[in-house]
Every structure is written in structure tokens, then in C-alpha cells.
Symmetry: C2
Subunit: 356 residues, 2 copies
């Protein structure tokens, strides 16, 4: 995505080229993927005045050839950074001022890198990548919409079948299975947190029986590398009047917070709005109000008290207030939202309290 | 695990304390998890002369309290490294010579860290962690055995049901579903690569129909955070005599390589043994022979040509020769092995060519 805009940034900052790397086949480097569509191990070099290229282990050559990058080099059987250096030399790239992503560059890798690129000045380009990525292209918006629509469909299927699950693990397994069957990846490990488990926002589904009371289900998939994120809290059994009231209070706050999302609004203001309206429950709201998402599940903007971000046209982010009562229960309601002139809900599953 | 041994290392190296951190709730910092059993965001501080403690976001407090670490602090609503600094001050820890893990410390985080810990000397402790982790404790071996036994069981169930799957994604979905149902995580995204897809060692399962010919299935789970890893190549349809021969040649090499795994053997020698025996196929073997595994799917030792590692008692690693013919097919056979006096197979699924 947006590789020409990125090259213009390099040019403007007088940087000869940018290098992104990934040493771990079990991870994806988000910026490397964003610019190349390639998820594996290797390095991506983007020269300011020339075509980008990938340098990958021999075993990944065919897979890399299927990415958006036309020029792919297979690493020789030598160490990682020496291989990159060799290809850069071969391409006769000027290597004086380089751009590196200091959010995804470890201290040890930097040591190995500097042994090759001895006389370089390496400037951090991470913030520019974050800023590019937080404004979504039309193509990205299409992918995220599709991702959200899959998440909706699968979550609704789970809820419809919820009575058949005995344990949280079984319910989570259903979500994973449906995602994978559709050729999707998970955006994160699904959360199914019933009863008192729901008071831990990042509870891991357990093998114990699903408990009565509120049950928080937080789920998202990746469609062609793009994330979705939705949380619904359902009720197992018969809620008391008090429980219904507290759920509906949170739901109203969530809906109003979405409606308040307007262009150039400060994220911290949205957060403050929620805290104010939670009244006596404000200390039970123990996490941020939301986060941007795209190729990563957590991107900018950051919807927290201390955030300096503003929401802008074509940003995609979550709105997810939650309240948690230790050892008792938790409730969280979350949607993925696209900002245009107005906020547009991308996750559309009903938010009325569902009783199963 | 082994926190006292680690504290002894700190003492020996005259380091006041070690700090490990994780800024991303979607990831696990392997060393932080190894020493604490805690998987979420936050920081772990291990003083050489005192009890270790965790500093975590408020939303993770309850989860962190369930880890092996008794002392847990909830972060205030301020930035990450200032919160850590404050708790360290409160604990009156001497902060002159610190240990940090430079394999899991980014350049930008180090900048933020140094703004707080201004006069410190930070020494890299990553290699010591790697060395500790590559020799497994009896408790870890139990967990890995259990993980391998789950992987075997689920893989065998997949193979038994293989005829029911139309696409690679469906087969991969089955593996995920079975893992999750049993309360397990995946060690990595399962690979189901049929026909020509099998020639890409890290092929991602597709929505296309399963192709005839060899089909590579690479799968592993995490049981209580500990990985397993197994690959079997089955055959869809009727293999030719030539295909059977090539499969059995690779199988013999794999079995012999396992038998050659002895204490103090150089990993590079094992790799060379395989290359030598592959004869005319040696250029089709395009990856390492194997890797250690534990809390991460890729740990030390590294079974490659350039490896300086030796295999030792209580190491756990894979042996996984493979041959790949671009646009044609691939075969890989992989087991997880524990080294004692002799190599012990932890994955036990039959390796005879299975025809479905």
C-alpha cells in the first residue's frame, strides 16, 4: 500500500532507502507487510528513487514472488544482515542516510546491522509509517469492511449455537474453526469470559463449564491481512432488573460515544465523555476506550485519556467501553467504526442484551 | 522457571536487576513468560537479591496475580517506562548495572527506558536466557511431552477424517478446532499444503480444492505455554513407484538423523549428514534440519550448516528434513525429539506413507 507516498517521504527527508526486516517466521512485521504484502521472514528495501525489493531465505522465495514486490532475491546460506548488505551493494544503492523502523528494530539486530552498514546514519521512520497507516485507502477500507462482515457472521453463528457449548474453550474453538474454514486468520485469540472470568478483560478461555451471568465474547478475524474487532456481552440465565439496567447504561454510553466521533475530535475528549457518563462506575472502566486497527489489531489512533491523537477522515478504530467488577462480572461492548463525514458502523451485530 | 539460577547469573555478573517488558497485548515476551508464567502486557523485574515483581496495566492486574509471581503492581494511568521507574524507586533497588534482553528490546523502547533510568549501564542478558531455556527442566519436559501427545492425537484424527475435507483451509480449521476444544493454543498457524503448494515450506492453507499427490501437514500446539511440532506428508490418490521411493528415501534419512543425535554432537554435523545422504536431491533441501522448541516454537539449538551449537542432555528439538520441487511438490517429515542418553521421540504418529 502507498509505497509511492512513502518514497516521497524518503525523498523529502533526504533518506537514500528504507529497510524493514523480519527474523521470525512465526511473526509478521506490520510495516513490511503493509508495503509489500509479504508476511514471511526476510527484508524489504525501499529506495527513494527506485523499485523496492525483497531479500528472503531460499525456502520463502516462491511465496515472496507472489507478493506485491516484483524483485525478489534469495538469500545465500550466510547470515541475515550480511546477505542484505550484499544485495544492497549489488544494486549500487547509495547507503549514507537510511530509514529504519525503530519500533520493530531490536538492539541486537541493530548491532548486527551496523557491522555491515558501517558508515550509515539511520533515522527512525516509524512515526511516518504509523501516520500513513492510520489513514486507510479505499482498498484497505474494502478489506476491513469484508473482515468485519465475516466477524459479524461468525459471531452471530456462535451466539445462535451458544447453548451447545459446555465450556468457554469449546465456544472459542467454534469461532476459530469458522474463521479458518472461511480461509481467514484470527486477528487475536478469541476471548470467551463467563461469569467472574468476565471481570478480566483479557481472560483466556478455560476448560471449565460456562458460568451463569454475563459472558463477554471478544472476537476478530483477518481478511487478506486486515483486522476486524467486535465484542458482545450476552447473558446466560435470567438477568435481574439491576443487571439489565447496568447493561443498558453501558450500551447507551457506547452508542453515544460512537455518535460523538466526528472529524478532528480529540480522542481524549471521547474518553472523557465516557468516564463522565459512567458516573459512579467510572473506576470500573479500567482500559482505553478504543484503538485504531488495520494490518495490526492495535494501531493508531489511541483512544485514551493521555492520547494526543485526533480522529480524521478514513480512520478505522474501535469504541469499546467496559466495566469490570473483580471476582463478580464484566461487561464490554465494542464495535469497529469507520470515520467519514459521520461515523459508520462496520460491525453490525445487534447490541440488545441477548439472553441464552 | 529457574528464576534462582537466573538470579545467580545476575549476581555473578554484578547486575542489580533484570527487566523484561511487553508492550503488545497480542504478543508474548518469551523470557518474561518463562520466568513468570505471565503472558500479557507489562514488565517483570528480577532483582538479584530480592523477590521478582510484575508491573502491569490495571486491566491485567487480576490475570497477573494468577501467575508464578506473588508481587504485582498495577500501573498508574501514566506512560509505560515512567511507571516501571516509579515502582523500582519505591522498591529501593540499586539501579546502576542492569540486565536487559536485547533480543526483545526495540530501539525506540530503549530510548524511552533511558529517559527514566538515566545513569544506568544496561548489559545484554539475552544469551544467558537462551542458554538457560535450551536445557529443559523436568517440569518443562513433562509439559512438552503432553503437548506432543496432544499434537499426535489431533493430527491422527485429522488424517483419519481427511477424506471429508475439500479444501486445505477446512483441514487446517479442523486442526485449530480440535486444539482449541482441548483448551490448547496453536504453536503456529497450521500448514496444509497439497500438490504444488507443498513445494513452498511455509505455504498458507488456501480455499482451493485439495490437490492430488503429496500433501504436507505441519502442526503443533501449546500446552500450558509449551510447544510441540510435527510434520507428516500423506498422499492423496495413488503414488507412483518413483514417488514411493523418494518418500522412503527421505524417511530413512530422517530416522537415521534422529538416531545420530547424541550428546555433544555438533548440530552442523547432523545437517551435513542429511545433505550428504540426500545425494542428487541435496539442492532441493532448502531449509535448516531443525530447531529447539519450548515456550517459543523456534529456540536454540539451531540445526543448520553454520550452527555452532551442540546437542546436550535435556534439549528438545525437531528433526525435519524436506525436499521441494518448485511448482511440483514437496515432502517434509518432522518429529520433536528429546535428548537423554539417547534420542527419545516425543511425537509418535506413524511415518509410513499414508495414502488417502
Amino acid at each position: 500500500m502507498r509505497i509511492n507516498e512513502f518514497k516521497a517521504i524518503l525523498d523529502e527527508k533526504n533518506l537514500d532507502f528504507a529497510v524493514f526486516y523480519n527474523l521470525d517466521s512465526a511473526r509478521v512485521n506490520p510495516n513490511l507487510f503493509y508495503f509489500s504484502g509479504y508476511k514471511g521472514m526476510g527484508a524489504l528495501v525501499i529506495p527513494k528513487n527506485n523499485h523496492p525489493f525483497l531479500i528472503v531465505p531460499e525456502m520463502e522465495y516462491q511465496r515472496a514472488k507472489r507478493s506485491m514486490i516484483k524483485k525478489v532475491y534469495s538469500m545465500e546460506k550466510k547470515r541475515f544482515f550480511p546477505s542484505i548488505y550484499k544485495v544492497v551493494k549489488k544494486n549500487k544503492l547509495k547507503s549514507k542516510n537510511l530509514a529504519i523502523d525503530k519500533n520493530n528494530f531490536t538492539l541486537n539486530s541493530y548491532g548486527h546491522f551496523k557491522k555491515q552498514f558501517k558508515k550509515i546514519k539511520a533515522k527512525d521512520i516509524s512515526l511516518d509509517c504509523i501516520k500513513l497507516r492510520q489513514i486507510k485507502t479505499e482498498k484497505e477500507i474494502k478489506l476491513i469492511k469484508k473482515s468485519c462482515s465475516y466477524a459479524d457472521k461468525i459471531l452471530q453463528k456462535l451466539i445462535k449455537n451458544f447453548k451447545h457449548f459446555e465450556t468457554e474453550s469449546e465456544a472459542a474453538a467454534f469461532l476459530e474453526h469458522e474463521a479458518r474454514k472461511n480461509g481467514l486468520e484470527l486477528a487475536f485469540s478469541p476471548i470467551v469470559a463467563s461469569g467472574s472470568n468476565g471481570s478480566m478483560p483479557h481472560h483466556e478461555p478455560s476448560n471449565g463449564k460456562i458460568k451463569h451471568g454475563f459472558c463477554v465474547i471478544d472476537f476478530g478475524v483477518k481478511y487478506k491481512g486486515y483486522c476486524s474487532d467486535i465484542t458482545r456481552t450476552i447473558y446466560i440465565g435470567k438477568p435481574t432488573q439491576k443487571e439489565k439496567e447496568i447493561y443498558n447504561m453501558l450500551l447507551n454510553i457506547q452508542k453515544n460515544a460512537i455518535n460523538q466521533a466526528k472529524q478532528n475530535k480529540k480522542c481524549s475528549k471521547l474518553y472523557e465523555y465516557v468516564v463522565k457518563n459512567l458516573g459512579k462506575y467510572k473506576n470500573s472502566f479500567i482500559h482505553g476506550l478504543g484503538h485504531g486497527l488495520g494490518v495490526e489489531i492495535h494501531e493508531m489512533p489511541n483512544l485514551t485519556l493521555n492520547s494526543k491523537d485526533k480522529i480524521k477522515d478514513s480512520m478505522v478504530f474501535t469504541i469499546e467501553p467496559g466495566i469490570y467488577f473483580p471476582r463478580k462480572f464484566g461487561i464490554r461492548i465494542e464495535d469497529t467504526v469507520l470515520l467519514r463525514q459521520k461515523p459508520i458502523l462496520l460491525t453490525k451485530t445487534s447490541k440488545d442484551l441477548l439472553i441464552v
